[in-house]
Symmetry: C2
Subunit: 242 residues, 2 copies
């Protein structure tokens, strides 16, 4: 078999729990792995560190170093955004403004940054993966800030998938819609309210494996698709939301 | 006829073109009118001026003066947000980050502020009106920042309308979904690209009249409803989006 140029993936939030699983899955498959996060991922080939987790402008893709680097490299095969965060809260909370700003910065600015880089540095027939939320398919009065921002991510997914959406020719964009991902920070948050059944939480490796699968020949996801990840008895099923 | 306590309306963006029409319509009907904007509206009974049009935190409802005032008054009958702005732009634009921040601050922070005040100061069976966008019901690749933020406003509308949404008992929230409002700034923006047919633009008075109508007895809009305003031959029709 002839040797092949290594494929390249850029992961926003590449040193979060899910990001590390994604970098790991692609690295063992011999991809070149680029991580953007507020800490370096020691397993990634290249790291771009941002200064502050919630300082939105720091995710700005026009801020220099990432663009300069990507200009010097072959086009990317895949861009993934798995940066983000969650907060509860209703409209009557005194902290609603802070909750919204925080959710915007954590979930939306990372989505904008990843999408902007995909528009400029993804190859033709490439793949962009964003992270939405299953909960935001319906009303979210008890986590209003989280839901409205994830809803904006869903809108962006549909817009980028539409004609003249701005991604390179024959590329696809899809959103992951997790219900609950099994991460240390989610376990910590949930543990505060008593015993939890983790058998319904989605392992990060299941999501990383699905993203990897979508990059294989003829396995591209539906352009603009929302893929809901549900887990029961430790088994994850993935379905395309209508 | 016995004298009646005056009804009260608070209008975010009350000195914009649409806001002035709303304040005018309610004032002539003898309501007490409260305006929040970056300039005072001389026709309103009370004005709360914010410092900078796009400095999002200045819309913060917890910033003091407005809350202090509302605490001292009878509950509000109606809260309206008609502050906002528009910008074109696709995901590949170098200015995408600035466009998104600007749309967030203009359209979303005003929606959050108005909704938060409604949660705390609206009377039972009161009315909250937000401003969405007909365009954001579908993909908006050519005005991605605008569309994704308006989509978040739609999500907020649905969430506040849901059980435990956070508004006072028996209140209703609905969103205006204009196609194109006939305002001086919209005329100016459109005029730059040649002659325009204004007969399909919606007069501000038509929207103001509809909002007023919704405050009349037994005329409350559908809770969580999206009302699309379309104008043809200078005649405006309003329909409830499914």
């Amino acid at each position: 078999m002839a040797s092949r140029v290594a494929q390249r993936i850029l992961v926003y939030g590449g040193d979060g729990a899910l990001g590390r699983a994604v970098i790991h899955r692609f690295r063992v498959a011999k991809w070149q792995t680029y991580c953007v996060d507020y800490r370096p991922n020691a397993f990634a080939h290249y790291n771009f560190t941002i200064e502050d987790r919630i300082a939105g402008q720091d995710w700005n893709p026009n801020s220099g170093a990432i663009n300069d680097f990507l200009e010097s490299q072959p086009k990317l095969d895949c861009v993934v955004n798995v940066a983000g965060g969650w907060t509860p809260g209703s409209i009557s909370d005194a902290e609603i403004f802070q909750q919204c700003e925080s959710m915007w910065k954590q979930n939306m600015t990372s989505s904008i940054a990843a999408s902007s880089l995909a528009a400029n540095y993804l190859r033709e027939s490439g793949l962009l993966i964003l992270t939405g939320a299953e909960a935001a398919l319906g009303p979210t009065p008890d986590m209003i800030a989280y839901g409205l921002v994830k809803s904006a991510v869903h809108h962006m997914t549909k817009s980028l998938a539409s004609p003249n959406g701005g991604l390179p020719k024959d590329s696809a964009v899809a959103s992951l819609l997790p219900v609950m991902i099994d991460t240390p920070s989610n376990r910590k948050a949930a543990g505060e309210s008593g015993p939890v059944d983790y058998s319904t939480w989605t392992p990060t490796a299941d999501i990383a494996n699905q993203i990897f699968s979508w990059t294989e020949k003829d396995r591209q996801p539906v352009n603009g698709g929302f893929y809901v990840f549900k887990t029961k008895n430790h088994k994850t099923t993935i379905h395309l939301h209508d």
